[in-house]
């Protein structure tokens, strides 16, 4: 028999209060919300990057290059240990992950193996066949190396993003070798992207006194040197002959900052070495006074100053052809350190702030108008029951937004579309019930009986029908990316809240109305 269930009333009231509790913080701005009293919720709906503007970047760390480097280092290690133990060898070379060497005297293969073993890392395995030694990285070693490389890269990227002054960035690992960077409200994405993408390997070499022209005349470079391009293509010296030996690296830097050189008035990057670095730098500058130093960033010469006097304080300036921005960027890169491996941008999605604001406005407008259209239509079609259904729609939206705030969901433009769509679809459950009630009345049952049966029959259909939509929404959530995920979230929550409002809330209202007013006929 149709009656008001006390527990249902209690339940509905509890849900209402919870909804209000969670919806309040959304009235305030982001900064105001933290000032709210402690007993209030401070959770808000987050705006997605497509609504507040910002950049989403998917980066890939080229971990293969690290393994390649390690393979080349391995070749050096093998050469060193074999020379040390005076074992003759040939065909020494690196592979993609490992190295091979042929030992000339097959009898010495075990000695060779042992001497190499002492000098290499644990995860590198050695296999011998006849007089050949085959060194390769164990699977574990490869996995560890890749994981470490990605971890380090994330650290460096985080430092660089922080230094660039972006607020509330999110930097996360995705899959094996990918990094997702989210930069909300960013003003100059190109610059930050350029900062993130640079490997920024800083190396100090000595310049060879041989000029490039002279080397070209001779047809070969002096032994132990290589040709490096000038980082500034407009400079007078396009190329340099640089000694291969690395004297110092950027790892030894303690600090770096962009300043103006007091003498020349031009922008320079002042740097400071740590203790060990300062010592080494002092020795280098003492040994090579009046020669030219070569400072290389990512294998290009950014500065090649002459050492006028020994520098013992561990401080110096890099004076390239800098603008205030490029000097500052270089300082940021040096402070954050170099990336262990090159990084590639696989995907970028940037939304300007104006589009975000327009989208929010458009979304609000569509929501209000869609809402009014549906509400008016329902009243015309179902009269009193239409008003009940409209009440359910309003409550449904409140509930939906409060739940989105409670889980601090991210609202995206497709997400707003999902809310508007929910307005249209939320009436479905009510319509199912109302149509059923109508049918029962037509078949000659009493009003109370019809309402009771209407809800009873419709509930099964509603559950079945909504469950299938939920399947679609969950799969969307699982496979979708950012904005689409937002759509899936609002759609699934919308389905749940619409079931609640139709099956519990409106039933309560309808029951209450029928029991109190005892209408003789139902206009439905």
């Amino acid at each position: 028999m149709l009656k008001i269930n006390k527990w249902n009333v209690f339940f509905v009231l509890a849900v209402c209060l919870t909804a209000i509790y969670y919806i309040i913080p959304n009235i305030y701005g982001k900064s105001e919300v933290t000032a709210l009293p402690k007993f209030l919720s401070q959770k808000q709906v987050n705006l997605g990057l497509d609504l507040q503007g910002g950049s989403h970047l998917l980066l890939e760390v080229d971990t293969k290059s690290v393994l390649k480097e390690k393979s080349e280092d391995l070749v050096d290690d093998i050469r060193k240990s074999l020379r040390k133990s005076k074992i003759k060898y040939s065909n020494l070379g690196s592979k993609i992950t490992g190295a091979v060497v042929t030992i000339t005297d097959p009898e010495k293969i075990t000695t060779a193996k042992n001497s190499i073993k002492e000098n290499i890392e644990k995860g590198i395995l050695i296999e011998e066949s006849k007089n050949k030694l085959n060194l390769f990285f164990s699977d574990e070693y490869i996995i560890d190396t890749r994981a470490n490389t990605v971890e380090q890269s994330i650290e460096v990227v985080r430092k660089r993003v922080d230094e660039s002054g972006t607020k509330e960035p999110s930097i996360q690992r995705q899959g094996e070798e990918r990094i997702v960077v989210q930069l909300p409200g960013i003003k100059n994405p190109e610059r930050v992207k350029a900062l993130i993408g640079r490997t920024a390997k800083l190396n100090f070499h000595m310049l060879d006194p041989t000029t490039v022209e002279l080397a070209e005349q001779r047809g070969k470079l002096p032994p132990g040197t290589f040709k490096a391009l000038n980082a500034d293509p407009t400079a007078y010296e396009k190329q340099f002959v640089v000694k291969k030996r690395v004297l110092l690296t950027g790892e030894r830097l303690k600090n770096a900052a962009a300043t103006v050189d007091a003498q020349t008035g031009r922008y320079v990057v002042a740097f400071e070495f740590d203790k060990k670095g300062a010592k080494k730098f002092a020795k280098v500058t003492t040994d090579n006074t009046y020669q030219r130093l070569a400072i290389l960033l990512d294998n290009k010469v950014i500065s090649a100053p002459q050492i006028r006097e020994p520098i013992t304080g561990g401080q110096g300036n890099i004076s390239g052809n800098f603008s205030p921005e490029t000097a500052n960027d270089l300082a940021v890169l040096l402070r954050a350190g170099s990336l262990p491996a090159p990084i590639k941008v696989l995907e970028e999605r940037t939304v300007g702030p104006s589009l975000g604001i327009d989208s929010i406005e458009a979304g609000k407008k569509a929501l209000v108008i869609g809402f009014i259209l549906v509400i008016v239509f329902m009243i015309i079609r179902y009269r009193v029951f239409g008003i009940v259904a409209d009440f359910a729609i309003i409550f449904n939206i409140i509930l939906l937004i409060s739940m989105l705030s409670a889980i601090e969901a991210t609202l995206t433009m497709p997400g707003i579309a999902g809310i508007v769509l929910t307005v249209g679809m939320a009436v479905d459950a009510n319509v199912l019930v109302f149509e059923r009630i109508k049918e029962e009345i037509r078949s000659g049952r009493s009003i109370l009986n019809s309402i009771d049966l209407g809800y009873k029959f419709a509930i099964k259909t509603i559950l079945d029908a909504n469950f299938t939509t939920l399947i679609a929404a969950l799969l969307l959530y699982n496979y979708g990316s950012g904005p689409i995920k937002g759509f899936a979230v609002t759609l699934s929550i919308g389905i749940l809240t619409s079931m609640f409002t139709a099956l519990i809330l409106t039933k309560l209202i309808v029951t209450f109305w029928v029991l109190k007013l005892k209408p003789k006929r139902l206009y439905i």
């Binding site: 941008v345 300007g352 259209l373 679809m425 479905d428 319509v431 299938t468 939920l470």
Partner: protein, 272 residues
Amino acid sequence: MGLSAFLFLTKNLNLGIDFKGGIMVEAKFSEAPNLAILRDKIDKLQIGNSEIQEFGDSNTILFRLEKIDDSNMTQEQIIQKLKNELDDDTDYRRVEFVGPKVGKELKSIAIKAVLFSLIAMFIYIWFRFSGWQFGLGALVALFHDVLSTMGFFSLTQIEFNLASIAAILTIAGYSINDTVVVFDRIRENLVKTDRALEELLNQSINQTLSRTLMTSITTLLALLALFIFGGEVVKGFVSAMMWGVLIGTYSSIFIASPLILFFGFKKVEEKS
């Protein structure tokens, strides 16, 4: 259905950069630019194939650039080159780049998502209505919806992107919702009456018809508001949804239920 398949096969989908890879820039100018001059300018940059079109209003232009794999330029350089060519006060509303690798991945994810959801719904209905005929009927109706939505995308040449996949899945969910309501009534009537199956199906469809239409109307009203006021970004998505609601309503009435008959469902099965 045949027509959709035909359209789909003959007229290619206008794949967006989500699946094809490439660069998309939405720029708002202070005054409406001359498209021909603009096109000329961009062609001279030699940054690969480009497409230029108005987006929403005549001040807003959408650039779509194909990123060629073997080009030496990174996407940053290409975007920079484009920006250098345009006025300084241009408002860059959107810049998107999808690399070829990610494009391929997104494609396979999209296909998976659609297939899995179809299978999941098929299984759910099969179990819930204890008859494979119901499941298969619903599945065919779903295929019909998906295919004709694809046909819609081919015909209108609306960009087919990740949002389109969301539209397809929502349509599938919506359409199966309709189908379930009809099936539910069929199940109920099976127990109640002794009528012939054809008559019974007919009766069930009639009984649920007004609900099906009502829900479609309210959903369409909400979508209409989105279509007119929701902004350019969701327009493609919304128009596909509107089409889907129409086609989904039609398919659950005219395809899913009659197919139960076609697949030889016997009343005895249900009763036993």
